[in-house]
Subunit: 152 residues, 2 copies
């Protein structure tokens, strides 16, 4: 487990299956939720606490894409892959809504490492990133494939 | 195919497998890309055109999560499910980067409709949303499961 404000860049040689990287936390609030939703997901349950009460969410909830974007911010800080955290794709699930008072954290686990056959300087690393709140409730589960380079 | 500024809400009875919904367009630019990345994905290839030149992206590129967020904006307008576009999860892939001069559009196709067994008022609808640019290049492929209600 690594927890660090500004850790050194990660190369392929630094990673093993099972490694865990824990991010700092980010404190959400209603203003952030509404600002994101106004721009990208303008639906009542993401925009207005009163209007949200009578929806499936039963109260103001962050857009899932806001949770995803915040997770990326936490991931870039906590899993600083050399030459950048670059994903080709991902599976994402939101088991429960992210709420205005949530303090979110991203915990990333290396699930698999597959060296590239055509490009020997790199591998595809499968990373599972769980976004949780201060009550350790899982808000998002993200499984992504990230390119990681060997040390030059 | 439906293309409309403000179409009526969609209920389950309105949907068939194969239905296609085309969004309006959104013109991206470097300022939007940098603003999103500064907040959520602060990596050189999303922040600075000069620094981006020597990276895997070979030029400024939008965060994949920015493309996802813009797609949600276009989807909410073009696929206005009654009671809201609410996804439990999704698969996402970014076959090529979104660039500052891209004019993006989301084209959504209904792939499957599975009525809920426990809750007869709703179904899970699998929707594939392709985000493309003005050259019809695919920037993102999103497959999501959306809750759609029967007409009350």
């Amino acid at each position: 487990m690594q927890e660090n404000a500004s850790p050194p860049p990660i190369y392929l040689e630094d990673l093993s299956v099972g490694d865990v990287f824990v991010s700092k936390t980010h404190a959400l609030d209603a203003a952030q939720i509404i600002a994101f939703a106004s721009q990208f997901d303008p639906q009542p349950f993401h925009l207005d606490a009163d209007a949200a009460r009578d929806t499936l969410f039963q109260g103001l909830a962050a857009s899932g894409w806001h949770t995803a974007a915040l997770t990326m911010k936490l991931l870039v800080e906590s899993f600083p892959v050399a030459r950048g955290v670059i994903g080709a794709g991902a599976d994402i699930a939101w088991p429960q809504p992210t709420r205005p008072d949530d303090v979110v954290k991203a915990t990333s686990t290396v699930l698999a490492i597959t060296p590239s056959r055509s490009k020997p300087d790199r591998a595809i690393v499968v990373v599972e990133t769980i976004t949780s709140n201060q009550r350790d409730e899982t808000l998002q589960k993200l499984t992504s494939k990230v390119v990681v380079f060997r040390r030059p």
